[in-house]
């Protein structure tokens, strides 16, 4: 965490355009040369309900949301329920202001729309403002918007006020609005932007506070992307042209991006009757020679267990995407959690034969999605990408050059008709698609419609040509061959120049923070804070969940005295996986868990580490939970 940063929070009602306004604002700041990172908080409601987006802006690379924030723009909630008619949700109208005060840093700025919000409805508002040295600007943004356009344009007025107070050049906003808005609404929005900006410049002391946007410059062109964008683009660049799915938050984002883009590049997208069908369609398309994917979130993924097992048994390559959300059952649909790790590793009957990656950043999401397809088609095995609403929904700037790669449409281990002529066939003319003794356990496949390639794919145990068989010799030969792929894939991953595990901090550090998936950036920031405070800490973000990177994690754990495992679930699933895979370290690993619906903030980890590992105390009153190492 640096002091030289703006963390801007725009709060309002779900359905009031908070997401699009904040996205445009973030992009404008990125274009101006700054690094940005967004964090979304929204309810599972159609319209209304308190929502906010936070944009962290810095001259340095931003990897995480910050601790608290320093600039609040509180807008009205157009769809707030009338508090008089039901007190269950409390006074929703005031929430954009009242719900956001706790995390506002000392010396922070509050801008609120006095046309819709009345601060006097908040208990002790003035006292809190004084105690925290907050700087409050109440402006009638609604009237400003109404005067030039429509009421919903008050978002733009708020952006104009922000620019004036934080020292942001409105040209960046103007350029972006010109790109993003249709002409009809562009004119009034520009008028509102300028009027708000000038009003504040003229009538307020904009230097009464020191929350200012930093200065920055990029040395190469940047793009603003989410993890969902990165997964979708990774799929496209790896030659995937078939997706089947059923809507479910938060997986819907990847599904939507591909449904919208596939027609432009000759791909096929299918919204189908349920997730069983969705995964089965991916299997069917892949079987017929197309690179195919499906995906869902926890509940929908539960329905995919059968087709997933079928893909394993028939060695049909597919990629499945699992966007975790807080469970169990319907859980909290719009809240992030990492509690589907075991669900994804072990669902479906029999011995799991799949690959699971949990990327930690937007770039990793792109890279590992591509790797998932490559491995799936090369080794004829289902590959899964496990992520969550946090990584899926957070936007951050990434160098555009990261995506400047060659496409790879290769279908992997597939034979052509010419190659099939020389391939082994059974006496009856069937191609021996499941041969016992083959390198890395991979027996190349043929595709329906190829001359001389016919075989039977079946979920039953089967002979080399695919006929159902239950003899012990064949069973063991086929099982061993399929399982052999795990070792081959692990060896392949270990040989990669850019491995999937991410190290941060000094090699010689005394303590380790171990995490997986989307918490990686936050953990790295916590390491930086702890090191600044004089602690000897480093971190390892693990992405390979199956096959597990045993050597790398062992080496990391051997190098530290103690390690704290950070994960967003209640049962320490990643720690359990690590102990299972390594067969030891029970006394070395303790857990810091968070499962209240919000991702870790760096301070959760910093305080958690100091309290538990350094002082040896239990956590009191924090939002996180500590589970000590065995024997402690």
């Amino acid at each position: 965490m640096t002091d030289d940063e703006l963390i801007w929070r725009i709060a309002g009602g779900s359905g009031d355009g908070i997401a699009s306004t904040s996205q445009n604002f973030a992009k404008a700041l990125m274009r101006s040369g700054l690094n940005v990172f967004t964090h979304r908080h929204y309810p599972s409601r159609i319209r209304g309900g308190h929502t906010y987006t936070e944009i962290r802006v810095s001259s340095e690379k931003v990897k995480s949301r910050g601790d608290g924030y320093n600039f609040l723009l509180a807008l009205g909630d157009s769809f707030a329920r009338n508090p008089k008619e039901g007190a269950y949700y409390g006074n929703e109208e005031i929430k954009p202001l009242s719900e956001n005060l706790d995390e506002l840093r000392e010396g922070g700025v509050i801008v609120y729309d006095s046309g819709l919000l009345d601060a006097s409805e908040i208990e002790d508002f003035d006292e809190r403002v004084e105690a925290n040295n907050w700087h409050v600007y109440d402006l009638d943004l609604r009237s400003m918007a109404r005067e030039h356009g429509r009421e919903v344009m008050r978002n733009t007025a708020g952006v104009g006020v922000t620019c004036a107070l934080a020292g942001i050049d409105t040209d960046w906003i103007e350029d972006l609005m010109t790109d993003a808005m249709p002409e009809k609404i562009l004119e009034p929005n520009l008028e509102i932007l300028h009027e708000a900006y000038e009003l504040v410049q003229d009538e307020y002391d904009v230097d009464a506070h020191d929350v200012k946007v930093p200065e920055g410059e990029h040395d190469e062109e940047q793009v603003l992307l989410s993890g969902s964008d990165a997964i979708a683009y990774g799929s496209i660049d790896e030659g995937c042209r078939f997706i089947a799915g059923y809507p479910m938050t938060p997986w819907t984002e990847v599904f939507t991006i591909l449904c919208q883009n596939f027609p432009k590049i000759g791909g096929i997208s299918e919204q189908v009757e349920d997730e069983i069908a969705a995964a089965a369609l991916a299997v069917g398309a892949s079987h017929a020679g197309v690179k195919a994917m499906s995906g869902s979130s926890g509940g929908g993924f539960a329905l995919m267990g059968e087709p997933l097992g079928l893909a394993e048994m028939t060695e049909t390559p597919i990629v499945l995407i699992e966007a975790m959300r807080a469970g169990p059952s319907t859980g909290m649909p719009t809240k992030p959690e990492q509690a589907d790790l075991e669900h994804v590793l072990y669902s479906s009957q029999g011995d799991s034969q799949r690959v699971v990656f949990a990327p930690g950043t937007v770039e990793e999401a792109y890279d590992q999605t591509r790797q998932a397809f490559k491995i799936a088609y090369e080794y004829q095995i289902p590959s899964l990408i496990l992520y969550d609403q946090k990584l899926g929904g957070e936007l951050m700037n990434v160098p555009a050059s990261h995506f400047d790669r060659d496409p790879n449409p290769d279908l992997g281990s597939v034979l052509t008709e010419a190659e099939l002529e020389d391939a082994p066939h059974s006496d009856t003319g069937k191609y021996q698609r499941f041969q016992h003794d083959v390198k890395d356990g991979v027996s190349p496949r043929s595709i329906p419609g190829q001359k001389g390639g016919r075989y039977l794919a079946t979920g039953n145990e089967h002979t080399p040509e695919g006929h159902i068989a239950e003899t012990p010799e064949n069973r063991v030969a086929q099982m061993n061959r399929r399982l052999q792929k795990q070792e081959a894939i692990r060896a392949y991953l270990d040989d990669l120049e850019d491995g999937h595990q991410t190290y941060h901090g000094d090699d010689d550090a005394e303590y380790g923070l171990l995490t997986f998936g989307s918490q990686q950036g936050t953990v790295e920031e916590a390491v930086d804070v702890l090191v600044d405070q004089g602690y000897s800490v480093k971190s390892l973000g693990v992405s390979d969940m199956m096959p597990y990177p045993v050597e790398e994690v062992t080496e990391f754990l051997e190098s530290v005295d103690e390690a704290l495992v950070i994960e967003m679930n209640a049962s320490a699933q990643f720690r359990g996986l690590t102990q299972k895979e390594l067969g030891r370290y029970g006394e070395k690993l303790s857990s810091l868990l968070k499962y209240n619906g919000n991702p870790f903030e760096p301070a959760d980890i910093v305080e958690g580490f100091k309290t538990t590992i350094i002082k040896g105390d239990d956590l009191q009153g924090l939002e996180t939970k500590f589970v000590p190492a065995a024997g402690d």
Binding site: R31, V223, L224, D229, A232, Y233, I236, D237, R241, F242, A244, N261, P263, K264, G266, G267, I268, S269, V272, E273, I276, A277, A280, L281, G284, H287, A288, G289, V290, A292, E306, L310, T314, A400, F403, R405, D406, P407, P409, T416, E417, S426, D427, T428, G429, K430, I447, P448, G449, Q450, K451, G452, G453, R454, Y455, L456, T458, G459, H467, I468
Partner: protein, 312 residues
């Protein structure tokens, strides 16, 4: 140049080509109706000049699922109830394939009922054969979705309290554009109907009555049967949805009253198939998608060129 030269081969095909060498003797019980489906499918495929390498036969789980083992072609013996989503994706990926899906009444009308409804609704260009023996055979005789009301079995000891599914009506309501019923005891009609179904451009549903001599001994053997197209007693327009619906209701009632009525009950040649509909709105490429992966000259699109600008 195609990577799939079995498709549209157009050579003369002998129906014995569809008999696999490895497991030529089916393990179905003597007298099982499933033999009738196998024979009719072999005959129809040969008569249409389809070769084993251009047919993709997908099956579910059950006695009917063994069809894959006894019919020589590309085969995918899938999961219980899931032959349809796998079949229709394969057809989308490579429309030149002759795609036939098959399963039992529990498979298609029970556990796979949702897929049946939606595949019919979407009118995928494929043939779906349901082996309807009104019983679960492979699991040894439990009551199935088509078992008559009052049917007693180990899992329905007091007799089923449920009315059976009306498969033909369900297919029609869902959107199938070809709906027929045939019976294993009527091999000539069965072959003709399978030929029509394979030639039909859309979802062709065949409810195929397959007597089970082992677990459904009490049930009728589906003889004598009446072909409604050959009989003067039944007069309805097979192209008219309302008349077809009325006829189907009569046929479904009649089965449980002892009269086996077979034939074509609904044929809609005008409705475009799903593949045609999707191509019309630009959501299926002109060339089969599967061919692209074998086409070395194809310039694969990159996200950096097509989609990254809006993130700048």
């Amino acid at each position: 140049m195609s990577a799939f030269n079995a498709i549209g081969d157009g050579r003369d095909v002998d129906q014995n080509e569809f008999t696999p060498g490895l497991e030529p003797q089916p393990t179905w019980c003597p007298g099982c109706g499933d033999f009738g489906v196998l024979k009719a499918l072999k005959g129809a495929s040969a008569e249409l000049g389809r070769t084993p390498d251009e047919i993709l036969l997908t099956t579910g789980i059950g006695c009917s699922g063994k069809l894959n083992s006894y019919f020589e072609s590309y085969g995918f013996h899938t999961l219980h109830g899931r032959s349809l989503p796998i079949a229709r994706a394969a057809k989308l990926a490579n429309p030149g394939l002759e795609v036939v899906a098959a399963g039992g009444d529990g498979d298609g009308y029970g556990i796979g009922g949702n897929h049946f409804m939606h595949t019919a609704r979407e009118n995928h260009d494929m043939t779906y054969i349901v082996f309807n023996n009104e019983i679960f055979g492979l699991t040894k005789g439990q009551t199935s979705p088509t078992s008559p009301k009052g049917h007693k079995s180990k899992t329905q000891p007091s007799g089923s309290a449920k009315d059976p599914i009306r498969p033909l009506s369900l297919a029609l309501t869902s959107g199938a554009s070809y709906v027929a019923r045939t019976a294993a005891v009527n091999p000539n009609q069965a072959k003709e109907i399978i030929i029509e179904a394979m030639e039909h451009d859309g979802f062709a549903h065949i409810d195929f009555l397959t007597q089970c001599p082992t677990w459904n001994k009490d049930a009728r053997q589906y003889v004598p049967y009446i072909d409604v197209q050959d009989s003067d007693d039944y007069d309805f327009d097979v192209n008219d949805r309302r008349e077809a619906a009325a006829m189907m209701a009569e046929v479904e009632d009649a089965l449980h009253e002892g009269t086996v009525l077979t034939g074509r009950f609904y044929v809609d040649e005008d409705r475009p198939s799903y593949q045609q509909e999707k191509r019309a709105i630009g959501e299926i490429p002109e060339e089969p998608l599967a061919e692209r992966y074998f086409d070395d000259s194809y310039e694969w699109e990159r996200s950096a060129d097509h989609f990254l600008d809006k993130h700048k």
